[in-house]
């Protein structure tokens, strides 16, 4: 393993030769380093991953109001009273759990995207294997030792983690709030991330002279320990500085452990840290029993967890807004699996498969992707929420549309596979960039154009899942015009106006990882 190679620990050295000559307070000026980082021409976007450990019950979180007869048949002992479900503007068939008022507000103010039915083929029901799958982005039957975020960081920061801090990037590559670094951050050469549990508690840890490490397993571990000590010391200065410069501007609740974590994240972001990835964790979703209070299904263990989640996300978004940083930060929740449709006799739910994922921030399309889950009329213990989207489509969308990787780079990060991206993020209006590696990929101008009632969009591809999404001039998704598994060749898609107000719109075609967009005009 390369991280054992202590000779590669040039990080301290490079740091030392680059910031020379600066007065001490300027060392803490992250604007300088921010400029250096931007010179690389990479994204300055930040992603906050919120892991909901234990397997969240998606059906009691994002509640399908149009499936109440099926839900009543399957889980009457934990079902949320339909009248107390929180409505979502513009989506009469979907609502939030009653304790998610802060997230309801974020959705209703256009800052949240929900992807329904996220899973993967042949889902695994073990917490540990399923978590591994979500971390590694592997197929159900493939075992990988690296995480998808770790591979993204490998791709973006060559030589990570040994070559960092680097003069072009002095900040930690990723930060996990807590005392362990999860394997989602494992890259080819080791963990591309740093654990931080407190930003008021730094410590000097470098000792003096050391003996050479022997070429034995003991020497291997000794080298590792020294490496961590060195790296921690180097990053401690950067973190101290960001913590000193940054302050929280919103008032965070007390006793909310997730909010405590996001508070640190917000403070470091406000302090100017360029770190692109933060990971926070909330446990307690393994609700095999007593998920709800028998007397009132809207309260109980699961409600407490969702309230903690919702309140934490709410105050974090408010803090970012006050800081003026909300446009550069997106958050994404995930859980290793959803839970079974049918509840058990313990007032809980056993391990299941598909569940919604939620992406939030000002730059997401404020909509719900996918439909309410299709549920059997009387679900048995063997029935699971059907998959609509692969979780790696969400990852691909984040990598391509948020971190601006090319489709081939996305494919490298996702183990050589191509996944069709989803319209999670707003489209940059007017863009006509063609992102394709396919020769026979084209999207023609709709005809007629302008149109008032009906038009046709023609495209040619090598086949696969094809999707055409309609956006307004602000880049906000209006609706999915077409979604189908198409053969290779040319397809004509008829589009009805369907009450669209007159104006200019953009339509974007996705087939596999290829994308292309054009404008269309609607007239009266």
């Amino acid at each position: 393993m390369k991280r054992r190679d202590f000779l590669k620990l040039s990080s301290m050295a490079t740091l030392a030769t680059t910031v020379s000559g600066l007065p001490i307070h300027a060392y803490g000026d992250n604007k300088l380093f921010g400029a250096l980082a931007r010179n690389r021409g990479v994204s300055d976007k930040i992603l906050v991953l919120i892991q909901m450990s234990g397997g969240n019950d998606g059906l009691n979180t994002v509640i399908p109001l149009d499936r109440y007869s099926e839900l009543s048949a399957a889980r009457s002992n934990i079902l949320i009273n339909q009248t107390s479900v929180l409505p979502l503007s513009g989506f009469s068939s979907t609502g939030f759990h009653p304790s998610m008022t802060a997230m309801q507000n974020i959705f209703n103010t256009g800052r949240m995207n929900i992807i329904q039915g996220v899973s993967y083929p042949d889902p695994n029901f073990s917490h540990f294997r399923a978590t591994d799958i979500f971390f590694s982005a592997a197929d159900s039957n493939t075992y990988l030792n690296t995480g998808w975020v770790g591979r993204y960081l490998d791709q973006r920061f060559p030589g990570a983690p040994q070559s960092y801090p680097d003069p072009n990037f002095l900040d930690p590559l990723a930060i996990q709030i807590g005392s362990t670094v999860s394997s989602v951050l494992t890259g080819a050469n080791g963990l591309n991330g740093l654990a931080v549990s407190s930003i008021s508690n730094f410590y000097q840890i470098i000792s003096g002279t050391v003996d050479p490490a022997p070429a034995t397993p003991a020497g291997n571990e000794l080298t590792f320990l020294r490496f961590i000590a060195q790296q921690t010391q180097a990053y401690t200065l950067v973190l101290q500085n960001a913590a000193a410069l940054g302050t929280n501007l919103a008032t965070y609740p007390t006793g909310n452990r997730l909010a405590d974590q996001l508070k640190i994240v917000a403070r470091l972001i406000n302090g100017g840290l360029q770190t692109p990835i933060y990971i926070v964790n909330q446990g307690g979703y393994d609700t095999h029993d007593n998920q709800v209070e028998m007397a009132d299904h809207s309260i109980g263990d699961h409600a407490d967890k969702l309230k903690e989640l919702s309140d934490a996300i709410g105050v974090f978004q408010q803090d970012l807004k006050l800081m003026g940083k909300e446009d550069k930060v997106a958050g994404c929740t995930f859980s290793e699996f959803g839970r079974r449709i049918k509840s058990n006799a313990s007032g809980g739910t056993d391990h299941g498969s598909a569940a919604p994922m939620i992406v939030f921030g000002t730059q997401v399309n404020p909509t719900i992707i996918g439909t309410s889950p299709i549920l059997p009329a009387s679900a048995t213990v063997n029935d699971n929420v059907p998959m609509q989207y692969d979780f790696r489509q969400v990852y691909a969308s984040i990598l391509q549309d948020w971190f601006k990787l090319t489709p081939s780079e996305v494919s490298t990060v996702l183990n050589g596979q191509s996944y069709q991206t989803l319209p999670i993020f707003k489209w940059t209006v007017g863009t006509t960039d063609i992102e394709t590696s396919s020769k026979s990929f084209s999207l023609e101008q709709n005809f007629p154009n302008p149109f008032s009632e009906h038009t046709i969009i023609r495209f040619t591809s090598e086949g696969g899942m094809a999707q055409i999404v309609l956006y307004d001039q602000m880049g906000k998704m209006i609706r999915v015009l077409y979604e189908n598994d198409v053969p290779a060749g040319t397809i004509d898609v008829g589009v009805d106006r369907n009450n669209l107000p007159a104006g200019t719109y953009y339509y974007q075609l996705h087939v596999g990882s290829s994308k292309m967009g054009k404008a269309m005009v609607v007239v009266n």
């Binding site: 202590f6 910031v19 060392y27 407190s198 508690n201 000794l222 095999h288 056993d350």
Partner: protein, 574 residues
């Protein structure tokens, strides 16, 4: 010895001549040259020694190695207690000796929160009524304190390490269940069977009240089976996970077999309730040879548990290797390559099967083996937080006197558990049913204990042992190392070379070079560079009891030396 503080570090950054990164020359980099290895430790070798009984040297080095791995920390008194025993006799003693059952945890909290169930100060609460959430909280703390006390006073036995091993392998989370009485019962179950028969342990664990709540066995009833325990029994406790093993249907069928166990929260006993038992036949997959466990009615339904365990344990090669790998990772090293799998793991597994799941023969074989005493096996284990803090507390002779008030004693032992918790290992409350990821998460394994958060914490708490403030326990008691009594447990407190030698031997893993030892010794000489400087200072202290000036001189020098010595990375290995 040069000690780089933060100011010097920053100054060092700022005073260098400007160079562009492109012409960076590693050989001119002072920080690199100062800290980096002079040769790369790449391509390290694994021990290729086998399980044959070790016949090599049996000196202080081997004894310290054994005791560090088999227990928590090592002291000169531990080594002295081995006396003239041979390697084989020593291992026999540590594995076979009968350890007296510790007295149960008691009410130490009466003056903080009077026990609502009427248990007086100093009396045990383990059979009391539940009371309320607050008293349960204090009882939980007292259970952790009781456990830490047992470890600190481990005696000549592997038992405490094995209890931790089983706790990590057969997990419950005390806090998730929330009844300290059940947790104590679970701890006692592990204690009773830790060196007994594994299959018996699994059977008893299946019926353990804490486990029945933790993995929902109590709620697993006919018509609405709860799969939680049925899955983990196979995935985490016996077979493991992987392709072409048990499948989801096997989980469902196992859950049905296990229906009907109920916990009585008054007696804290488990009973089998036939009315809740699924009486139909249970059909398993081809992996289990399509075994059908015949449904039984009435009290006989309980017998299906034996059928289930017999079916699972019939996969003896899988089960034995699964557990032996865990033992190897817990006691030896995490990296199991193909050769270690085919020699050591397989050898241990065959012993395990031949013993009909008795645990002792496996441990005796491993700790007497060439493999264990091979120098390549030494020092490569990154100490867990419990090993680090509890082992260090023993090695430094940190005292928690029995003359303290009961409240302070319990608080002191609980403070040790809190240190472990803050470094990522909360005794009694692993993060989930798979235990601590450092024991299973590939490829980091034990290295997961060490990161930018936990390493500074470990160092900071260790430093505190050598300060007047120590680790806070109460207004009247702090945990700290009395360096003046500690140094007298070593072979010769008058000789600074001997002090450093002993400290390196007992506190660090890998030995240090002569020049590095000299630099630590110089901290005892306070700049004079002559051994006599220490010898005189120590003689003055010994000959003038009560003289605070003389006492202060030697205390300051010892604290300084030990603080810096224990900041070495070697202190985190064993």
């Amino acid at each position: 010895m040069p000690d780089l503080n933060r100011r010097e570090f920053i100054d060092g950054l700022l005073t260098k001549e400007k160079q562009s990164p492109e012409v960076y020359d590693i050989n001119k980099d002072e920080i690199f040259l100062k800290y980096a290895n002079k040769s790369s430790p790449l391509n390290f070798k694994h021990s290729r020694a086998g399980l044959a009984q070790y016949t090599g040297a049996w000196g202080e080095r081997q004894k310290i190695h054994l005791l560090r791995r088999i227990g928590f920390g090592v002291t000169p008194a531990d080594i002295a207690a081995i006396g003239s025993m041979t390697m084989s006799q020593t291992v026999d003693t540590y594995i076979n000796s009968i350890v007296p059952t510790p007295a149960p945890p008691v009410n130490y909290y009466e003056n903080i929160y009077p026990d609502p169930t009427g248990i007086p100060l100093g009396a045990t609460w383990i059979n009391a009524a539940y009371g309320d959430g607050t008293v349960n909280y204090y009882r939980s703390l007292s259970t952790k304190a009781w456990w830490m006390n047992n470890i600190i006073n481990q005696g000549q036995s592997i038992l405490e390490k094995m209890i931790l091993f089983w706790h990590n392998s057969l997990v419950t989370e005390a806090n998730a269940v929330g009844d300290a009485r059940l947790n104590h019962k679970y701890m006692m179950l592990l204690r009773t069977h830790a060196l007994g028969n594994y299959k018996t342990l699994i059977k008893e664990l299946t019926k353990d009240p804490q486990m029945l709540f933790y993995l929902n066995g109590h709620y697993n009833v006919k018509n609405s089976p709860d799969e939680n325990y049925g899955r983990e029994l196979q995935e985490l406790f016996t077979i493991g996970k992987g392709t072409n093993l048990w499948n989801e249907d096997d989980v469902k069928e196992a859950a049905k077999v296990l229906t009907g166990y109920r916990v009585d929260l008054t007696t804290l006993n488990t009973s089998f309730a036939p009315a809740f038992h699924e009486t139909g036949n249970k059909t398993f997959s081809a992996f289990y040879n399509n075994t059908i466990i015949a449904g039984q009615v009435g009290a006989a339904g309980e017998n299906e548990l034996d059928d289930l365990l017999n079916m699972i344990f019939a996969k003896d090669q899988l089960v034995a290797k699964f557990i032996c790998r865990k033992i190897y990772r817990f006691f030896i090293y995490y990296d199991i390559d193909a050769t270690i799998e085919s020699t050591i793991i397989d050898g241990m597994a065959q012993t395990f099967i031949a013993s009909n799941w008795d645990i002792k023969p496996v441990l005796l074989q491993l700790f007497k083996s060439d493999h264990f005493y091979d120098p390549l096996t030494e020092y490569c284990f990154i100490r867990t937080p419990m090993d680090y803090y509890l082992g260090m507390t023993r090695s430094l002779d940190v005292q928690i006197p029995a003359t303290l008030s009961l409240e302070d004693q319990y608080r002191a032992y609980y403070a040790l558990a809190s240190l472990c918790e803050s470094a990522g290992m909360n005794p009694g409350d692993p993060p989930n049913v798979a235990g601590w990821p450092a024991f299973y998460q590939s490829p980091q394994f034990h290295e997961m204990w060490i990161n930018s958060d936990t390493l500074p914490k470990r160092m900071k708490s260790t430093d505190a042992y050598f300060t007047n403030n120590g680790i806070y326990v109460s207004s009247s008691f702090k945990l700290r190392c009395d360096v003046l009594t500690f140094v007298q447990t070593l072979s010769n407190a008058y000789d600074p070379d001997s002090i450093v030698d002993d400290c390196v031997k007992y506190l660090l893993a890998i030995g240090l070079s002569a020049s590095l030892k000299t630099s630590f010794k110089n901290l005892l000489l306070d700049g004079s560079l002559l051994n006599i400087s220490w010898t005189n200072a120590w003689t003055d202290y010994i000959n003038n009891p009560g003289n605070t000036t003389f006492e202060g001189i030697v205390r300051t020098r010892l604290r300084d030396m030990l603080t810096k010595l224990l900041r070495m990375a070697e202190h985190h290995l064993c």
